[in-house]
Subunit: 225 residues, 4 copies
């Protein structure tokens, strides 16, 4: 009898472990230099790790950073096999677009909107073909002035509109960083400064910026079954 109980307990443990194991979701963050910085101390991915631990979910979620500086949407597409699919993630957060817009004026090598859309769709299609869940993000800011007088505001709004429309059409969760940043800056940037509120240099995130991204991404991640 005791043996039976012990055996049952043992099996129970195994089931629990396998259950826990099955439940541990790999969340991969796929992006540019902002995401590359996300795995550094104080970065938004590190903050998400903290949120996971705070909520006692460290055996249910695992994060993987996959950001490379200077990346545009087609760079993500090129490195999907090695940097994403091989790692077999359950969820991929796509956070891209700043360089696609910015490089137009900084080096003449941005991405036009039609092709941005094509590659974006191709990335999502490849992920969904592997049953990977996808979370989309709009590109946050290049400059924090709140009266839309940052040089790239027009294109950031346009490319964000495309991502928003695509998320509705495909019923994909969206972390609308562009709106979140604009609303935060509208409240916290009364001097209409170019940087220093959520970014250090108009683009890359300071502590408050990392926190805003971490909180909102984490909320989107948790929602996914």
């Amino acid at each position: 009898m005791t043996k039976l109980v012990l055996f049952a307990a043992f099996i129970g443990c195994l089931l629990l472990m396998s259950f826990s194991y099955d439940q541990k979701k790999k969340v991969l963050f796929f992006g540019d230099s902002i995401t590359a910085a996300g795995v550094q101390p104080g970065g938004y991915i590190k903050m998400i790790d903290s949120l996971i631990r705070q909520e006692g979910k460290e055996n249910r979620y695992e994060t993987i950073g996959a950001g490379i500086g200077g990346n545009k949407v087609y760079d993500l597409y090129l490195r999907m096999e090695d940097d994403v699919l091989k790692k077999e993630p359950d969820i991929v957060v796509i956070y891209i677009g700043v360089n696609d817009v910015w490089h137009k004026s900084s080096s003449g090598t941005g991405t036009d909107l039609v092709k941005f859309g094509k590659f974006y769709e191709a990335i999502v299609a490849k992920l969904q073909a592997k049953d990977i869940k996808v979370i989309l993000c709009t590109p946050a800011v290049i400059g924090e002035r709140t009266d839309y007088s940052n040089m790239q505001d027009g294109d950031l709004n346009l490319y964000s509109n495309w991502i928003r429309q695509f998320s509705r059409q495909k019923e994909l969760p969206l972390v609308d960083l562009r709106t979140l940043f604009h609303d935060y800056d509208a409240k916290n940037n009364p001097e209409n400064k170019e940087s220093g509120i959520l970014t250090t240099d108009r683009v890359h995130l300071n502590r408050a910026g990392n926190w805003l991204v971490a909180e909102n991404m984490w909320n989107a991640i948790k929602t996914i079954k």
Copy 2:
């Protein structure tokens, strides 16, 4: 005695005519292709001519078009002597800035903001040195979408901010076309179209656009003593 009265009346008429003549103000419109189109049938300068006649002021105001396609602020500066000062205008309406912004992305030959400001100030200083009154305008639109998703919205807002601040600093009258167009489009462009409300092609004015410019410029012109 009658002769004397007639003679006095004649002299009076002469004085009145000479007075009227002295009062006839030359208003010169200094700008780019939008202003070049302004002197064509249906153009905003032709509309101002009509407004002048409607108000019976044709012997008090005379308009001169001085717009050349593709002009940027430094092109205006280069041709001031021949195209403006030689014509001895009383009032100059400066309507420039679209190409300074637009040519950045269309041909790599836009004007950066610091230099835009320098040439703008130099033009105004030269006009004021000749006691010519100056009216400033902000550049209206490159694209009529109302959610600031036109590619050049950031720069148009930035350069317009500079002109607004300069008009306040120098206490110069301003026709804030950018705000006027944005407000008009906000009411009349529910489909968020790129053109067709106030422009034919995102930049150049259709009938409603010419009218909006004509009315507001004329109001500014009349105000000048």
Copy 3:
């Protein structure tokens, strides 16, 4: 006995046909608008078809056009599966690079050299993984002035240098159109004109241009075992 002979002859014919069939090589031309025009009457691919017929090799070679206007190297990469691999070509001629350079200044959406190289290598690797033979081409011209005073000459030379070096490193056949066009123009463009010698509009091929491309590509194609 007669029957046997007839039967043997029949089998022989079948073998010959199947042999011929096996020998028929599919040559796919992968590129941009220049290649899209290549399948039109008078286009370079049509001329290659004529050369094939002239040499009585129509049952040994078959051509397939796969050019799309505005394509850059990353566009080729994106459409490899559908437009190339599915068609199971034996030989692929890669003719790309003009837009990668040109779009830098025309729309701010060119391709920087490092990424041009990465995508180019990825395309070749995918083709070679399927045992498809590859022929490389340098981008010919954007402007036919022979003193290197065409705006994009610097980049065209630079990107062509990369392709030349890559062809040497990988021991891949190269049709060096840039050198061929430059040498032809050096002899035939004494007035240093921008177009009209080998192109209609500085970029797209006229009759002489199509012929120069056709002859040289065909020579490279024939060489491949």
Copy 4:
């Protein structure tokens, strides 16, 4: 009698002094950051000062640096009054064009060729109206690779062609730095490096570059009557 002789000698001395004084030519160097660096220790204007002293002509020539970083041809035009005409130079060396070409791709604010020509002509006309002698220069290099694979080689050749043609048409002396640099690099840059032969950073002059400019400018200056 003696008094008379002494008086005559005194007058003679005065005449000689005034003659010497009249002979001292002010040479102004009008340009961008390359010229701004020219007045620094080791700069090309300092080297010209040394050449003047070596040839014992320090009471016949005086140099004035008038270079400002980032200047394009229209910036020179804007500051002619203050920085050139007020200083009453006898000779002006115009050394401009690098930023007009470079800023097209670096910030979208280059100068198109037609306007480059217009401002260039306007500068020369203003100087000649004051009987100031003019020496022209072609822009040397943006990158020292000798196979015309530097990105801006096309435009530098094109804008230099314009300056060469203008110097012939107006019979103005030309220091053809572009050709001088190319020939020097062709001999001294066997590794086809981007910088380090005549420049420190592809654009700004190292010791050898300053020396090449100084020698050739000084030869042109001496030739002017």
